[in-house]
Amino acid sequence: MEQVTDNNAKVEVEKKRPVLRFFIGLSITLTSILLIVVFVLYALSGIKESYLGMNKNSAADTASLNQKQIAKLDNLIKKNSQKFYNLTPSQPYFIVNTTYNRFKLYKNKKQIREGFCSTGSYTLLKSHDKRQWIFKTPKGLYKIIGKVTNPVWRRPDWSFVEEGLPIPSQNDPIRWEAGVLGDYALSIGDGYLIHGTIYKRFLGMPVTHGCIRMNDEDLEAVYKTLDFGSKVYIF
């Protein structure tokens, strides 16, 4: 009776063996693939770097410089450094950071003021007559081309479209709005202004239609420091 039980157990084991083999084979294959993937993703770059380290190109004195050539190199460095330094204006200039809505004002190549401002909201406004506007502050180098006190805003078409109002004619007096741009405005061209705002709680946020808004004190300082032709760097 005992022998019969042993035989049954052996038969059971024999039956399971191919399944076991299959799983062992599968796990070996999967482990191999995983090792290759890990090698390619993580170890290979290390091997390449080690290889590059072994191939270090030791500098050879192919043509050592004589004193005259060294002096020439020194002069070139000095001359080009000076030329490069001169690119920074000695006149007052203004820097605007559109990502974090900050400004910096410089005079005699030194920062004299910094603070919050508001720049373009990056909104794409689509009207129902298929016109569209992107409200972004342009980046790059600009110059002050106009300065006014007590500016009056002439509302452009998008200002009416945005509020669902009918667009008035170009000469309609409804387009003119006083008191919303603060006490001063400086133009950098293409309709973009540096001006004040009644929405002071939004300073430091991207909420404008492309203009640069500032608070009253900062705007006054900027207006009094920058002149016609002063450079405005926007990034």
Partner: protein, 258 residues
């Protein structure tokens, strides 16, 4: 048991064979990249005021690097667009417009590929004396964060804008491919301080998967894979975001290495 051992040995041999095969192809591609780089910068630029020399004199090396750096910055300043200078000697990253530094950031950490030590030193100085041009980029944030707004039909539909959400929720990691073949990886430093650690790992992993796929594609057809030397840079999240958003599509990048 014997069959199991045989299977194990065959698997191990296959594994070694595949790994050796891939490694050989990769090393061949590295060699080719070095040759191409040396060939590309084998002669001085037109109207070059100075011819670089290969030397082991550290003071002359420093002068040549400085000269190349100023030259490249000067070239970049000729363009109207915003450029980036990466000075690995004093760990600063500067955004510039027409030669004026508009933002300066500290490079928190960086890893330079040893490729710069393996190439011909004169070729390297020549490469450094000109700005690199960005030819492509991949990022976890949008370059232009545009929001679309449909105008209301009349005043009854009009709702004033709400205060925009200015919290920095997105992880900031990006890659710039450049004209010289060098790839610049920018990561935010200390991502574990926020929830960005996992996003950074995912970004890096996906890039490695893409490279791995390119490698398999090339080696399976017995072609040399493309090798791109990498420079990995860690910046504060704010600085990384500012730099990415400020630079135009084909921005100029100036490097100061060594």
């Amino acid at each position: 048991m014997k069959r199991f051992r045989v299977l194990l040995i065959i698997s191990a041999l296959l594994l070694v064979l595949i790994i050796s095969f891939i490694s050989t192809f990769e090393i061949l591609s590295v060699n080719q990249a070095i040759e191409e780089f040396n060939g590309k910068f084998s002669s001085d630029a037109e109207k070059a005021e100075f011819s670089f020399v290969s030397t082991s004199d550290s003071s002359i090396i420093a002068k040549q690097v400085e000269y190349a750096y100023i030259n490249a910055q000067f070239e970049a300043s000729k363009s109207d667009s915003i450029s980036l200078t990466l000075n690995f000697l004093d760990s600063t990253a500067n955004l510039m417009i027409k030669g004026v530094v508009v933002h300066s950031a500290k490079i928190e950490n960086y890893q330079l590929s040893r490729f710069v030590d393996a190439v011909d030193q004169v070729a390297l100085y020549r490469m450094l004396s000109l700005p690199l041009q960005v030819t492509g980029h991949t990022s976890t944030i949008a370059k232009v964060p545009l929001m679309v707004k449909i105008a209301p039909k009349d005043t009854s539909e009009y709702t004033p804008d709400v205060v925009p959400d200015t919290t920095d929720i997105d992880a900031v990691n990006y890659i710039f491919e450049t004209s010289s073949g060098i790839q610049l990886y920018f990561y935010e430093s200390n991502p574990r301080e926020s929830a960005d650690g996992l996003k950074q790992f995912k970004f890096d992993f996906m890039d490695r998967v893409q490279s791995g796929y390119e490698l398999f594609k090339a080696t399976s057809t017995f072609k040399k894979p493309e090798y791109h030397p990498e420079i990995r840079i860690k910046l504060k999240k704010r600085d990384a975001k500012m730099i990415y958003r400020a630079l135009p599509e084909n921005a100029s990048i100036v490097l100061k290495i060594r």
